[in-house]
Assembly symmetry: C2
Homo-oligomer: 146 residues x 2
């Protein structure tokens, strides 16, 4: 079953602030002062890391029981490196993340072996992870000028 | 200048809800009822589309003037298709976005030629776009079990 997801993003009046919305929920984004923003919201690359962690955590919640695992609590920390000389157009380096690393925390009495197998399942199931870990085309559908 | 970005994600008590935070800002995520959630926040794949639109919009705001362009307003709509049979583990299909498409709206007196050139610049500069449009490694740094 193919579902088409959507978002809309508009400019806000202040500095670099923008607001995206999807499914009637809003997400404001900004940049830190060091990059010309006013630091009143997370940046888009931080939102990407939040989406990735959120996706892994939802897979855990959705599948732990079905896999016979009793997991009392779960959290995940993401980190990823960006050479800002790319975004700042100072040098011709990669604009986005070079790599992303995660540390998962499980509160559970299950064995390490079972948890490690479940982590492989999480990696293999997470739609945001698959989108980042694969080259996904971003196509220019239309440019409207008024 | 390499900057390491971070996010932390924790499980919330209700249904599939999770909360990510980055740079002290929070983003709650959920799933629609059709996928077992309570539909009280956007989903991680929607957050990814929001991050992509937000990143393009911030590049527009950050660079329009420097490129000699007078852009009164800008917005962008994103859409992308996911075969949910992947996330639901019904069939072995791609878990994430098959492709992503965008429609940009410019309010400006600049020529279409100039705007189309600027759109190429936006695509080439956007860190979130580069992360999605390239295969980025997601590495398991550590699994902590308590």
């Amino acid at each position: 079953m193919v579902k088409t997801y959507k978002s809309s993003t508009k400019s806000m009046s202040k500095g670099l602030q923008v607001e995206s919305s999807s499914n009637n929920f809003k997400l404001m984004m900004d940049e830190p002062e060091s990059l010309g923003g006013t630091n009143e919201a997370m940046s888009p690359v931080e939102a990407l890391l939040c989406a990735l962690g959120g996706c892994q955590a939802i897979v855990v919640k959705a599948y732990a029981k079905a896999q016979g695992l009793d997991i009392e609590d779960f959290s995940v920390d993401m980190e990823g490196d960006i050479d800002l000389d790319g975004f700042l157009r100072k040098r011709d380096v990669l604009r986005g993340f070079q790599e992303i690393r995660y540390t998962m925390h499980f509160k559970t009495k299950e064995s390490r072996e079972k948890i490690e197998k479940f982590v492989e399942f999480i990696e293999d199931t997470c739609p945001v992870g698959d989108t980042i870990n694969r080259k996904v085309a971003i196509l220019n559908k239309k440019i409207e000028i008024e």
